[in-house]
C-alpha cells in the first residue's frame, strides 16, 4: 500500500437503466487532502460520492480505502462518514443526541460520550445549543450540527454532499473558510461534492471536474482556472470568451479579426481548428482607437460593486465579448450603452482549446 494514497478508485462504472452515471473513473486521493468533485448536475459526482460511502454498488471497478477493498462492505462498517446535502438531522433528538449518535453506535456511553460530544460542539462553536431540537435551529446551525455529527467518529474520510448549498451567500463564504479551518485542525481527508465552482476554487487543494461520468480535468484550482483543457472546462469554471479560429505559421487567425498570439500556440500543429479562450478580466478596454485594438459597441453593463461587466459587440464580426473591469478602472464611471470602445488582450493571456 502506498502511504500517499488514502482512497483509490479503480475504473468504477455505474449505470441506472440506460443512463451511465459514472463511466470507468479512476482517481487517487492523498491523506489529509481537501478534495472537490465539481461538475454540473447529472455529471455523476453524487453517484460517485454515494459509491464511496457504500450506498451504491459500482457495476464495475473497485474502491480501496487505506489499502483495503471496500467491495461488499456495508456503509455502517466503513470508516467513512457522509454529511448529507439535506443534513438529515434526526428531528426527534437534540443537537447533542444527534452528534453523539455515531459514538453511541460504537458503544461509547456515559462521561466518555459526553466529553466527546462536548468537544465536537466546541469544534463547530455550538456549545450553547446542545439541548435544542433541530427544528429550532437556523440553517447555518443545522449545517454545523450535521458537520459535527459526521466528524465525531473521526472517520478516515469525510464526504460532504453540497455542504453549503442551502446557505445564503454571506454565510456560505464564512463557512468556506470555517470548513477549511476544521479540515486543517482535524487532519481528516475531505471530499466535497459541489456544483459551485467558486466553492471548489476557494476550499479545495485539488479539484476533479466531472462531466458525463468522467473526469474532464484534475488539478489544483489555479490550473483549472488558468489552463482549462477544453471548452467544457473553460466554460464551467469562471466566465470565458470564446473566439473560433485556425492555427497558422505566425499565430492564430481569427476570421474577420486578424492574427493573434496565444500562450500555448506552439503545442498545436498548424492548420488545426481551435477556439481561443480569454477570461473577461484579461480583456482591456480603451475609450479611443489604438493600434491592433478591436472596435465595438457597448451593448450593456452590469454593476457588481467591486467589478463592472461590459458586453461589447465587435464591429467586424458581430461577436460578443464580455469584459470585467475592476472598480478602479478609469472607464467604469462613464460607460454607457451604445458607446464605442476598443479592446485588446495580451497574447500570453489567451489560451487555445482544441475542442
Amino acid at each position: 500500500m502506498d502511504a500517499n494514497v488514502l482512497l483509490e478508485i479503480n475504473g468504477i462504472s455505474k449505470s441506472f437503466g440506460a443512463i451511465t452515471a459514472v463511466d470507468d473513473l479512476t482517481l487517487r486521493i492523498a491523506p489529509g487532502e481537501f478534495f472537490a468533485l465539481l461538475g454540473p448536475s447529472g455529471c455523476g459526482k453524487t453517484t460517485l460520492l454515494r459509491m464511496i460511502a457504500g450506498f451504491e454498488t459500482p457495476d464495475r471497478g473497485q474502491i480501496r480505502l487505506a489499502g483495503s477493498d471496500m467491495t461488499g462492505i456495508k456503509p455502517n462498517r466503513r470508516p467513512i462518514n457522509l454529511m448529507f446535502q439535506s443534513y438529515a438531522l434526526f428531528p426527534h433528538m437534540t443537537v447533542a443526541g444527534n452528534i453523539g449518535y455515531g459514538l453511541e453506535m460504537e458503544g461509547v456511553r456515559g462521561p466518555g460520550l459526553k466529553r466527546r460530544v462536548g468537544e465536537a460542539l466546541e469544534l463547530v462553536q455550538l456549545g450553547a445549543l446542545a439541548d435544542r431540537k433541530p427544528h429550532r435551529l437556523s440553517g447555518g446551525q443545522r449545517q454545523r450540527v450535521a458537520l459535527a455529527r459526521a466528524l465525531i467518529k473521526r472517520p478516515k474520510l469525510l464526504l460532504l454532499d453540497e455542504p453549503l448549498g442551502a446557505l445564503d451567500r454571506k454565510l456560505r463564504e464564512q463557512m468556506q473558510i470555517e470548513l477549511k479551518r476544521i479540515q486543517r485542525d482535524t487532519g481528516i481527508t475531505f471530499i466535497v461534492v459541489t456544483h459551485d465552482q467558486e466553492e471548489a476554487l476557494t476550499m479545495a487543494d485539488r479539484i476533479a471536474l466531472l462531466g458525463q461520468g468522467r473526469i474532464v480535468q484534475l488539478g489544483r484550482p489555479r490550473e483549472l482556472y488558468e489552463a482549462p483543457v477544453n471548452r467544457f472546462a473553460a466554460d464551467f469554471i469562471g466566465m470565458m470568451n470564446f473566439l473560433p479560429g485556425k492555427v497558422t505559421a505566425d499565430g492564430v487567425a481569427l476570421p474577420g479579426l486578424g492574427v493573434f498570439q496565444a500562450s500555448n500556440r506552439s503545442d498545436l500543429p498548424q492548420g488545426v481548428e481551435v477556439v481561443m479562450a480569454i477570461r473577461p478580466e484579461r480583456l482591456r478596454l480603451y475609450a479611443e482607437a489604438r493600434a491592433a485594438a478591436l472596435p465595438g459597441a457597448v451593448e450593456g453593463t452590469a454593476y457588481l460593486g467591486q467589478d463592472l461587466i461590459v458586453h461589447l459587440r465587435l464591429d467586424a464580426t458581430g461577436q460578443m465579448l464580455i469584459a470585467r473591469l475592476t472598480a478602479g478602472h478609469d472607464l467604469t464611471r462613464d460607460i454607457t450603452t451604445g458607446q464605442r470602445l476598443w479592446c485588446d488582450w495580451p497574447g500570453a493571456q489567451a489560451r487555445l482549446l482544441a475542442d
Binding site: F55, P75, N76, A88, L89, F90, Y101, P134, H135, K153
Partner: protein, 281 residues
C-alpha cells in the same frame, strides 16, 4: 372581506355537518337524560338513571369485552400493517400508487358482503376447514366461526387498510436520508429501525391505531354476523337497545358514552398530527 369569503366557502360543509351530525348527536345526548316510556317511547322526565345503569357490571363486562376485542384487532392490524406500509413507502414513487389502490380495492365492495364472505371461509364446511382436512392437517373441523377469533379476524380484515394508509403517510414522509444517515453513523438495519424509523413514525402508528380502535369498538355488523349473539359488543348492545329492547334513552346514554370515547381518541389523534407537523422541518 377575506373572512367573509372564507365563511361563504365553509358554510355548506359546516351546515351539512351541523344538520346531519351535530344536531342528531345533540338529540341523542338530550334523550339520554330522559326516562323510557312504558311502551318504548320517551317520557320527558329528567334522570341520570341511564348513565348509572351503563356502569352496571352486566354492561361493564360487555364494554370491557369490546375494548379487549378492539385492542386485539388494533394490535394485529398494526403488526400486519406496518411491514406492508413500510414496503410500499420504500418502492419507487410510480409503483406506490398502484399498491395503495390495491390496498383500498376491498372498499369497492360492500362491507356487509365482505363480512358474509368470511362466514363462507370460516364455517365448519368452509374453505379453510375443507382445505386443512384435505391436506390431512386436521381430522375434525376447527371452530373458527361464532367466536372472538372470527370477530377479530373480521375486524382486522376490514380495517387493516386504514392502518396501512395512516402508516404509509407517516413512513413515506420520512424519506431515505434519515435512514441512510443512521446507517452511515454505524447503525445496522434493526437499530436504525428502533432508533430512527419507529420513533419518527409514532404519530402514524397512533393515528392508525386510533382509526382501527374507534372503528372496531363501534362496529356491530361483524360481531353480529361472525360472533354470534352471545358475543355482543358495545355496538350490538346499543343496536339492541334501540331496535329490540326499545329503550331509547338507555341506548342513547350508551351511544353517547361511545361517542365521547371516540371524540377523546380522535382529538388525541388530531393533536398528535398537529404536533408532528410542527416538528417536521
Amino acid at each position: 372581506m377575506v373572512l367573509s369569503r372564507r365563511a361563504v366557502m365553509l358554510a355548506p360543509g359546516l351546515g351539512w355537518l351541523a344538520l346531519l351530525l351535530v344536531i342528531p348527536c345533540g338529540i341523542i345526548f338530550v334523550h339520554s337524560f330522559f326516562e323510557r316510556g312504558i311502551y318504548g317511547g320517551i317520557d320527558y322526565v329528567f334522570t341520570l338513571e341511564n348513565y348509572r345503569r351503563a356502569i352496571d357490571p352486566l354492561y361493564l363486562r360487555i364494554f370491557l369485552a369490546s375494548v379487549r376485542i378492539a385492542l386485539t384487532a388494533t394490535a394485529i392490524a398494526l403488526l400486519l400493517g406496518y411491514p406492508a406500509a413500510y414496503f410500499i413507502a420504500l418502492q419507487a414513487k410510480r409503483r406506490q400508487m398502484p399498491l395503495l389502490i390495491l390496498i383500498m380495492l376491498p372498499f369497492w365492495s360492500n362491507y356487509l358482503i365482505r363480512t358474509y364472505a368470511w362466514i363462507v371461509l370460516l364455517n365448519r364446511e368452509g374453505l379453510i376447514n375443507r382445505g386443512l382436512i384435505d391436506l390431512g392437517v386436521i381430522d375434525t373441523p376447527l371452530s373458527l366461526l361464532y367466536n372472538d377469533f372470527a370477530v377479530i379476524t373480521g375486524l382486522v380484515y376490514g380495517y387493516v387498510p386504514f392502518m396501512i394508509l395512516a402508516l404509509y403517510s407517516s413512513i413515506s414522509k420520512l424519506g431515505p436520508d434519515l435512514r441512510e444517515a443512521s446507517t452511515d453513523l454505524g447503525a445496522g438495519a434493526w437499530r436504525t429501525f428502533l432508533r430512527i424509523t419507529l420513533p419518527l413514525t409514532l404519530p402514524g402508528i397512533a393515528a392508525g391505531c386510533i382509526f382501527v380502535f374507534v372503528l372496531s369498538i363501534g362496529n356491530f355488523v361483524t360481531p353480529d354476523l361472525l360472533g354470534g349473539k352471545q358475543r355482543a359488543m358495545l355496538g350490538n348492545l346499543i343496536y339492541g337497545q334501540f331496535l329490540t329492547a326499545r329503550d331509547w334513552p338507555f341506548g342513547a346514554a350508551l351511544a353517547f358514552i361511545l361517542i365521547a370515547i371516540m371524540m377523546l381518541l380522535l382529538s388525541a389523534q388530531a393533536w398528535l398530527v398537529n404536533r408532528e407537523r410542527e416538528i417536521a422541518p
